[in-house]
């Protein structure tokens, strides 16, 4: 329905640690957004947990700020932890 607001859907998968954005949908309120998310995005056993967020509640960075926000980090290779030996026991890095 065109007058239903847009919602963003995040699913945590069977072995995933974090919720991941999977797509969006329309629904008149949170309860129906949750049902719709279940019906549209978890049909193939994808999920163990669902978040739905009103798209209008998300604050996004402006594409024209891309240079100022992200370019400076591209030359600072020393910020990556690749110069240190990583102990075997440390997971999820």
């Amino acid at each position: 329905m065109n007058d239903w607001p847009l919602w963003e859907v995040f699913i945590r998968s069977q072995h995933g640690l974090a919720h991941r954005h999977v797509g969006s949908l329309h629904a008149p309120d949170a309860e129906m957004a949750m049902n719709n998310a279940r019906d549209v995005y978890t049909r193939r056993n994808e999920g163990t947990s669902i978040w739905v967020v009103r798209s209008s509640e998300i604050v996004a960075s402006c594409p024209s700020d891309k240079g100022a926000l992200f370019d400076p980090a591209s030359t600072k290779v020393y910020r990556h932890p690749t110069f240190y030996p990583m102990p075997e026991e440390v997971k999820h890095i």
Binding site: L25, E31, N36, R38, D39
Partner: protein, 252 residues
Amino acid sequence: MLTPAIQFVYLTRIADSALILSQRLSELCGKGPALEEDMALANTALDLLGQARMWLSYAGEIEATGRDEDALAYLRSDREFHNFLLAEQPNSNYAEVLMRQFYFDVWHNLALARLENSTDPRIAEIAAKSRKEAVYHLRRSSDLIVRLGDGTLDSHARMQAAADSLWSFTGEFFTADFVDSAMAVCGAGFDPALLQDNWLRFVSQVFERATLRLPPGTWMLKGGKQGVHTEHLSYLLAEMQVLHREYPGAAW
């Protein structure tokens, strides 16, 4: 006295209501009022189809004449189907689609909860698996009944009309015959009359939130469980069975 013939009829009753309702919902695939709603209907249709397959497979094993789920679904005639009359009612409008689903879902949840305790382990197993799906179906249909019943003047009027026009098909849920009795006595089935109070209570509670009035009618149709159907079933079967009858054993 429990015989394979009685078990067979009992199993096809549960199977056929799921199968025929699934077929009705499938007719709406691609025609839902919103993409999300379309998916939800198709999901429900597929859930019910999966359940029908399990029940029919078991019915075929009990019958032991070599008929499998496909033979039972596609090669029986209307008089051999034992689904509730409610399940075969057409998709006249969306209010009726939702109300048909709601009346059925309430019964389905109560029935499966009973069958989970069946003395027949296979019945108990299929019921337990099916109930997880049925719980969600009921959550969804109840939610939509409340939203549309307590929605606009127009949606309220449509939902009330649907509640009234399908009401006379709900009596069949609770009337027992010798098949039900034989299955109930040995603990494999249950007495359908025992579900009536809980069914009515649940429907009343949802209707109250939906500002809908419980239909006053007491005259009830019956016959589906015994294979005597409304005219709608034959048309549905013609469409559902044509491929299998035209090309026996057709496969993808």
